[in-house]
């Protein structure tokens, strides 16, 4: 199953800080694998060491069972889409896309056909004879994408390929990328710091922070059972509360949780305003409204309670609904939705439910 294997990858740049700190992961033969993490967490560094542009300080990388450290970058057959586009400014759009095919000595007729195909996919057909200088950032990014995909590499690395596109084109193209990847069946590693994008297209997601892996899992795993507080709050939104502000109420929420549990968390969409029939394990918390934010499709109510501040997400709010500051509310959520974390941010089981 494992096609690409990264073992204990560590990278120390000149100074003391570790850009990568013991990263191990494996990617399947036709898997769409996403690296998700905040700026500076080492995503680009990991991609570049897989592509062969930087040497790891420690650890090794295998592709299809073969160790890569002895293979020079240009023989690895790994396509890469660069964060800063790296489009060749002296070549036209179609020459850019054909560039890699020429290195592979593909016959001219095939080059033409494949380039035309790739340009159509990247919606660049109309620009084929233009020079990149006369094109927008988003268009240049798509050149980079077409150029890397057209060579059908063994592995496709994409470093935030959609970061400069508008929201609509972004959604269209990310689906397109995923469809093409599945169609030609290559392994892809995709870097983003947009959590929604990661959830939408990945087979599996790797959440990173400060050079370390926080969690690897399917989008569902990552979202519904985050293993660290970092993963929990980076993907989606999360109410994080300190234990010990209202021991009596917390006792009913956390019950027989271990003493190591120091913080607990619940997603805003799992809290509702507590009226009507509710399941048996529901907990009610009284509070007062601090702020009401109307967002169209949903509304957020920030409420002050004895356990701390809680944000409630209300789906499809009535336009007429408003809430004054200080208005009393009752918040309700199920015990099963509460997550516990220890001092270091690792997940702690809440015990029997």
């Amino acid at each position: 199953m494992a096609y690409l294997e990264v073992e204990n990858a560590t990278k120390v740049y000149g100074g003391a800080a570790r850009a990568l700190d013991g990263v191990s992961l494996s990617v399947g033969r036709d898997e769409f694998f996403t690296l998700l993490g905040p700026s500076g967490c080492g995503k680009t560094t990991l991609l570049r060491s897989i592509a062969g542009f930087i040497e790891l300080s420690d650890g090794n990388i295998k592709l299809d069972g073969r160790r890569l450290d002895t293979v020079p970058a240009h023989k690895r057959d790994i396509g890469m889409v660069f964060q800063d586009y790296a489009v060749f400014p002296h070549l036209t759009v179609s020459e850019n896309v054909a560039f890699g095919l020429k290195a592979r000595k593909v016959p001219a007729a095939d080059i033409q056909r494949r380039v035309a195909e790739a340009l159509a996919t990247a919606r660049l057909t109309d620009f084929r004879d233009r020079l990149p200088a006369a094109m927008s950032g988003g268009q240049q990014q798509r050149i980079g994408l077409a150029r890397a995909m057209v060579i059908r590499p063994k592995l496709l690395l994409m470093d935030e390929p959609l970061s400069n596109l508008d929201a609509k084109l972004r959604v269209d193209l990310r689906d397109e990328i995923r469809d093409i990847q599945k169609k030609i069946g290559i392994a892809a590693i995709y870097v983003t710091h947009d959590q929604e994008e990661a959830l939408a297209i990945s087979d599996r997601i790797c959440v990173m922070s400060t050079g370390r892996i926080q969690q690897i899992g399917t989008p569902q795993d990552i979202y519904s059972s985050p293993q660290t507080l970092f993963a929990a709050s980076f993907v989606g939104t999360m109410n994080v509360l300190q234990r010990g502000t209202d021991p009596a109420l917390e006792a009913s929420i956390l019950q027989d949780a271990p003493a190591s549990l120091s913080q607990w968390a619940i997603r805003p969409e799992h809290i509702r305003l507590g009226e009507g029939d509710l399941p048996a394990d529901t907990i009610r918390v009284p509070g007062t409204v601090e702020k009401y934010t109307y967002l169209g499709r949903e509304a957020h109510i920030a409420a002050k309670t004895s356990v701390g501040k809680l944000v409630v997400q209300v789906a499809d709010p009535e336009p007429s609904l408003t809430m004054e500051q200080g208005h009393p509310v009752t918040l309700a959520f199920r015990r099963g939705h509460v997550m516990g974390f220890d001092q270091q941010g690792a997940r702690v089981s809440l015990g029997a439910r």
Binding site: R48, M80, D84, A86, A148
Partner: protein
């Protein structure tokens, strides 16, 4: 150690620097510290500091250096401010005049000033006949005036670039914070252009110290270190190499001192312009508009005046060295019949120099830009030395180093070519290194990830991107090489005379027609080279500095 390409390049680079820089400088130093019998002695230095003649020259050098600096700063800042921030009619023409001032052949400048303002100068005589007394331009003040109008383009070109790149939001922010216009200029704009001003001022200073044509022709008894060094070296009887080399060392020390001083001053001041909100040019009206235009055109025309005078005088009729009324091409005819070999020398030497600087400079530039380590940074730093060496000093140093085996090449064309090569090498290295730094390394990586080997990636991606810049840089090197006078003057023999050398000789012989015609030819060649360069890389006057 594995001998890869870059190791070989760095060894060769050091070899070049050792042969063409360290050995000549070492010889100069050695020669300055020997007495007539060849024993170690500091007598020359003692003499330097005790002889009134040398002390005066030293003080005078400082005077022309700082005088040229102040004059260039004043003229250059006025020009820069008006051109960058005000609407001036015919702006392109004005910057053309600035280029003309920059490349007008050495010596002819001084001569043209004499033609107008000398004892029998045209302008002076006219004014005198109207009853205004005007002293002739000779002496210290004359030198300072000529330097100011000759070197102001350094300040102007650098400062106008910086002024045009200040983000307007910064000034607007200051305005909205309630700063008065004067405070705004002093607190915001001035600090932002300070690095450019000090860099331009440094160039003016260094060139003022190194120039020896102007003090020689206009100084009339006002001598500076450069003229003293040349006089001592070239004296028919009792040529005193030991003293000439001592003065050379003092000149180098002075220049280095100023370079490091400027670097120290502007060590923290690196601002990166941002082109989103460029300043707009303001349109003045009324009196101030007239004042601005008069100031700009006065400075620009005065700076370009020598070149214009030379062009006019070159088509005056002559009989032998004497001008006759009316126009004619006698001077050009004389060049064609008698001086064709001089023109040919100039073209061949300059072409050879440019070929050497461009090829070698580009390769070293790649080394410096792509392999940053202790070795390459010290290479880069060492290259600063030929950058600040006055031409006279390079000439004397080459004579001191290369007139005995194993490198006995004095009197050959090679020594002239090498002397210009080593002075021009730093520019070439710098410009190719900075061209390379503009090419993002991920560009080559992209090519590598697409299956090209690193060498192929370099050839297919990087080279096409930097070649126009390199050719343009070569063209500009050609301009400097063909106008180079001071080192050639020390190194030439009859058969290797170049155009600038011939101009110097012609002016000394009173053959002004020939001098003017040769200068015009030089100017036309330089103009053609600059035109090609600008066509290749876009118009950018600052590349000329």
């Amino acid at each position: 150690m594995r001998l890869n390409f870059w190791t070989v390049v760095s060894i060769l680079a050091w070899l070049i620097l050792i042969v063409l820089l360290v050995i000549p400088l070492g010889s100069v130093l050695l020669s300055s510290m020997q007495d007539a019998a060849g024993n170690f002695s500091l007598a020359n230095y003692e003499r330097f500091f005790t002889t009134p003649r040398f002390r005066t020259a030293f003080v005078n050098t400082l005077i022309v250096g700082f005088g040229g600096l102040v004059g260039s700063l004043v003229l250059g800042s006025i020009m820069a401010f008006c051109m960058a921030r005000l609407e001036i009619k015919g702006g392109r023409f004005v910057s053309l005049l600035a280029i003309l001032a920059l490349v007008s052949p050495p010596f002819i400048g001084a001569y043209s000033w004499i033609v107008l303002f000398g004892s029998n100068g045209l302008v002076r005589q006219t004014l005198m006949s109207w009853g205004f007394f005007m002293p002739p331009i000779f002496g210290m003040w004359g030198v300072l005036i000529v330097f100011s109008f000759k070197f102001y383009p350094y300040v102007y070109l650098l400062a106008s670039g910086a002024l045009g790149n200040i983000n307007r939001s910064l000034e607007e922010a200051a305005e909205s914070l309630g700063m008065t216009p004067f405070k705004r200029v002093m607190k915001i704009s001035f600090p932002l252009v300070l690095p450019a001003l000090s860099a331009g001022g440094l160039l003016a200073l260094i060139h003022s110290i190194a120039d020896f044509g102007t003090p020689r022709l206009i100084g009339r008894g006002f001598s500076v270190l450069a003229t003293e060094a040349y006089t001592l070296y070239s004296a028919e009887i009792g040529s005193n190499l030991g003293m000439a080399t001592t003065i050379s060392i003092m000149l180098i020390l002075l220049s280095m001192l100023f370079v490091f001083g400027q670097r120290y001053m502007s060590r923290k001041n690196v601002y990166h312009g941002n082109l989103i909100n460029k300043p707009v040019k303001k349109k003045l009206t009324g009196v101030w508009n007239v004042v601005a235009h008069v100031a700009v055109y006065f400075i620009a025309l005065a700076g370009a005046m020598p070149a214009i005078i030379a062009a006019i005088y070159s088509i005056r009729r002559t009989n032998g060295p004497v001008f006759q009324p009316g126009l004619g091409l006698d001077s050009y005819r004389r060049i064609l019949y008698n001086l064709a070999d001089v023109v040919q020398n100039s073209l061949v030497f300059s072409a050879a120099t440019v070929f050497l600087t461009v090829t070698i400079g580009t390769i070293i530039g790649c080394l410096v830009a792509r392999r940053t380590n202790v070795n390459t940074s010290s290479l880069d730093a060492t290259l600063m030395v030929p950058y600040v060496m006055p031409g006279i000093v390079v000439g004397i140093a080459f004579v001191a180093a290369f007139n005995s085996p194993p490198f006995a090449i004095t009197g050959t064309a090679l020594i002239i070519i090498l002397s210009i090569f080593i002075r021009r090498l730093p520019y070439s290295v710098r410009s190719s290194a900075s061209a390379l730094r503009q090419v993002s390394p991920s560009m080559e990586e992209a090519a590598i990830s697409l299956g090209y080997s690193p060498l192929q990636a370099f050839m297919k991606v990087t080279v096409p991107l930097i070649v126009p810049g390199i050719i343009a840089g070569g063209m500009l090197s050609f301009v400097t090489a063909i106008n180079e006078l001071s080192s050639s003057l020390v190194l030439y023999v009859g058969s290797t005379a170049t155009m600038p050398v011939r101009i110097y000789i012609a002016i000394n012989d009173g053959d002004y027609g020939t001098a003017a015609a040769l200068s015009t030819v030089l100017l036309l060649i330089s103009g053609a080279a600059i035109y090609c360069a600008f066509r290749l890389m876009g118009r950018d006057e600052r590349a000329l500095l």
